[in-house]
Amino acid sequence: MSIELTENKEIAVSSPPTGWQVIWREFKKDKVALFSLVGLVVVILGVFIWAWFIDQEALMKISLRDKYAAPGTEQYSGLGSYFLGADQGGRDIFGQLIVGARNSIAIAIAITLITGIFGIVVGLVCGYFGGWIDNMFMRIIDFFITIPSLMLIIVFVTIVPKYDVPAFIMIMSIFLWTGTARLVRSKALSESRRDYVNASKTLGTNDFIIIFKEIMPNLSSILIVEMTLNFAGNVGIETGLSYLGFGLPPSTPSLGTLVSYANNPLVLYEYWWCWLPAAVFILLMMLGINYVGQALRRAADAKQRLG
């Protein structure tokens, strides 16, 4: 009780809380979100650092004597035991999980950044200028939203002649920028009618500076929320496509390819340790990112704040 009181006093005398303070207070109020945030940071950093030390060639080496080794059994070569068992080729599931998670996360981040930057620029420009630019892009966005994008991504993946990871990121990005653009446009539209923008225009400020130095910082909280939730969505789409076999090329393991071991009914039921860890990993990661996203969203909207 006394701690809370002193805290309130401090806030009362200080200037209005900055964006980071608001976010921090929101996380302190919502313990699950805080736990998710800490967990995500630890897991993502851990996966990246650990994957650095894993020798991919040794990992993907087939050792048929260890075929479908159950979790905890000794390796045939005597080099240690399988923490999460082994797959059909006797390859360590745990090592594949770490490398796959690293790849899936890195690709989801890349797609989030590309679609985010493109979507934000298009949204800001459309919302600020309006007129024919806005009309044109809105028609394009409407079109993208109604087409069956998942199917088109799959078709593109199969007809692209030199298919590799950058190609996959580009194909995904082409279809996934529209949501961000639409949201940013609607926010920029109302923001550019504000007095401060009009004042800046009267002063003769360059449009470019108004858009990126004056309007964009005011939308930053919404942009952070949007990017966080997009990241979750992109992890879902990438792993889903890899699961179907249309995501990452076979040479690059992903969480989705690990889950796709379950396509074999025998593995699905008998050797569940091949696919279940990756599925649970994806599930927990999605829940965590979404929890963090929800907390950020509440922090961005004064009406919904808990703290």
Partner: protein, 320 residues
């Protein structure tokens, strides 16, 4: 009212045109041509050239495009070379299965979501409300293929409550009561999976509608007339909050189509989504183009349906 529908319909035409153009261009990049399946490696090259000339494959692209669209309107998409039969009728057969699966999904979705949404809104901030919010949060965050696999693993294999693949067992004769029951039995697990994934939006929308309605004047009027709260909920609030939910049906259809690829593949259900994946794997291009076009058309139809229902329900958003 009619003006809105007609205008909304007219907006659809350029979208369909662009989609068909993209698919046509994509089809040009795919190896193979409309009579793969009709020819074998032993066919004389001169005969192939003759066939190409006769079928107009040497014409300029806009003429080919025009003919392709014309054929597509009549349901002719060429031959499926893996199944050695007309792609249109093949898809038609699968479409029936997908239709039943979608219908079952929509019914289960609303049967689950409406009571949950109403309860969460009515007992706002209670423990029940929090549990329902948590449920809708988890169902929102979980990817389709993960939930489908977990369900298949748990209910299909571990507990053995449901069949793990197919749409009907061979031992039943079409048309009998057992056949229909067996079909429903096969549909139940995939449909429930889809329904659970779709409940989030309906629950959250319905919940916030009801919380909003609680503070409205008409509710206070009803209360002051002495109507018991139970009746206010069932007669006044529920009706008002339910109307916008109707509009979600269109979007639900669109979402179902995307999800059908995963659900049908995982549950081994012979619908259009599974056909799409197997055609991609066997490079059966006439089926692929036909399916993408059909899905695009249905998705547009779904959003059209939503807009029409919405404009019937809420006159403010009619396009004038």
């Amino acid at each position: 009212m009619w003006k809105t529908i007609v205008r909304r319909f007219l907006i659809m035409i350029p979208q369909l045109f662009v989609l068909s153009l993209i698919i046509f261009i994509m089809a040009q990049f795919m190896p193979g041509d409309p009579f793969t399946g009709a020819i074998t490696p032993e066919t004389d090259p001169a005969r192939i050239e003759e066939l190409r000339e006769k079928n107009g494959l040497n014409d300029p692209w806009y003429q080919q495009y025009g003919r392709w669209v014309g054929n597509a309107f009549q349901g002719e998409f060429g031959m499926s070379y893996t199944f050695k039969r007309d792609a249109g009728s093949l898809i038609g057969e699968r479409a029936v299965n997908t239709f039943w699966l979608s219908l079952a999904s929509v019914i289960i979705l609303y049967v689950l979501a409406i009571p949950l949404g109403v309860l969460a809104g009515r007992y706002h901030n209670s423990l029940l409300d929090r549990a329902i919010i948590l449920y809708s949060f988890v169902s929102y965050a979980i990817p389709t293929f993960i939930l489908a696999l977990l369900f298949l693993f748990f209910f299909g294999y571990t507990l053995g409550w449901f069949p793990t693949s197919g749409s009907v067992d061979i031992k039943y004769d079409p048309g009998t009561f057992g056949y229909i029951m067996n079909k429903i039995y096969h549909i139940l697990l995939p449909a429930t999976t889809y329904a659970i994934l779709g409940t989030t939006t309906v629950i959250q929308y319905l919940r916030s509608e009801i919380i909003d309605a609680k503070g409205q004047d008409y509710v206070r009027t009803a209360r002051s007339k002495g109507i018991p709260m139970r009746k206010v909920y069932s007669r006044h609030i529920f009706r008002n909050s339910l109307l916008p939910i109707a509009a979600f049906i269109g979007f639900t259809i669109t979402g179902l189509l995307g999800g059908s690829i995963f659900i049908e593949t995982i549950f081994g259900y012979p619908g259009m989504g599974q056909l799409f994946i197997s055609s991609i794997l066997s490079r059966d291009y006439s089926v692929i183009t036909a399916l993408v076009m059909l899905y695009g058309f249905l998705a547009l139809l779904g959003s059209l349906l939503s807009d029409i229902i919405m404009s019937i329900v809420d006159p403010r958003i009619r396009i004038e």
